[in-house]
C-alpha cells in the first residue's frame, strides 16, 4: 500500500516535471530573446510595410527604366521625366520616412505618429507615380 502510494507520488512529480519543463524552458527562452521581439502596433506595422513596398516599387521602376533608358527617353519622355524626378526627390523622402518610423518607435507619441504618417503619405504618392509609369511602359 505504502509502495503504491510512493509510486503514485513519484509518478505525479515526474508528470509535473514533464509538463513544467518545456513550459518553463519556453518562457525562459522567450524572455531571453524578448528584447528583440517585435510588438504588434498596427500603425508601425502598416508604416513599415508601406515604406518597404514604396521602396520596392520605386526601385523596380527605376531599374526597369535604367535598363531601357535610351528607348524610354526617346519614345516615352514622360516616363523618363517621372524616373528623373523620383531619382532626385525620393531618396530624401524615403530616408526621412525611415527616420520618422524610428522616431515614432522610440517615443510612441502622437506627434511623432502624425509626422510619420505625413512622410509615408508622400512616399506612397511617389510609389503610385512609379506604379503608373511602370504600367505605361508595360502598355503594348
Amino acid at each position: 500500500m505504502k509502495k503504491t502510494r510512493s509510486f503514485s507520488l513519484v509518478f505525479v512529480m515526474l508528470l509535473a516535471l514533464v509538463v513544467a519543463l518545456p513550459l518553463g524552458g519556453c518562457s525562459w527562452f522567450t524572455s531571453s530573446t524578448a528584447t528583440t521581439q517585435p510588438s504588434g502596433d498596427i500603425v508601425v506595422v502598416s508604416a513599415e510595410k508601406s515604406l518597404e513596398a514604396a521602396f520596392t516599387v520605386i526601385d523596380g521602376f527605376l531599374l526597369a527604366e535604367h535598363q531601357n533608358r535610351d528607348y524610354i527617353k526617346s519614345k516615352l519622355p514622360a516616363v523618363h521625366a517621372t524616373a528623373e524626378q523620383l531619382r532626385r526627390e525620393s531618396p530624401a523622402m524615403l530616408r526621412e520616412a525611415g527616420d520618422a518610423i524610428a522616431a515614432y518607435k522610440a517615443a510612441r507619441a502622437e506627434i511623432q505618429r502624425d509626422a510619420m504618417e505625413s512622410k509615408l503619405a508622400s512616399v506612397s504618392q511617389m510609389a503610385a507615380q512609379a506604379r503608373t509609369a511602370l504600367a505605361t511602359i508595360n502598355k503594348p
Partner: protein
C-alpha cells in the same frame, strides 16, 4: 531594329515587374513590427540602393551659369 528594342524593353520591364511583385507579396506576408535590427537593415538597403547606377539622375539639378558680374544667370 526598333521592334526588337521594343520587345526587349517590354521583356525587361515584365521581368522587373514580376520581381517587384514577388517582393511585395513577401512584404505582405509579414505580420508584426520589424525589430530594430531589421528596420536598420531596411534603411541600410535603401541607402546602398541610392548609390546604385539606376538611382543616379541623368544630370543633377544645377543652376544656370552666372553672368560676368555674377549677379544673375548668363
Amino acid at each position: 531594329m526598333q521592334i526588337i528594342s521594343l520587345i526587349l524593353a517590354i521583356l525587361s520591364v515584365v521581368e522587373q515587374s514580376a520581381t517587384t511583385v514577388d517582393k511585395l507579396i513577401e512584404i505582405g506576408r509579414r505580420s508584426g513590427e520589424l525589430t530594430d535590427d531589421q528596420l536598420a537593415d531596411l534603411r541600410a538597403r535603401m541607402a546602398s540602393a541610392f548609390a546604385a547606377p539606376h538611382w543616379r539622375p541623368d544630370s543633377p539639378a544645377t543652376l544656370p551659369p552666372l553672368n560676368d558680374s555674377g549677379t544673375g544667370p548668363a
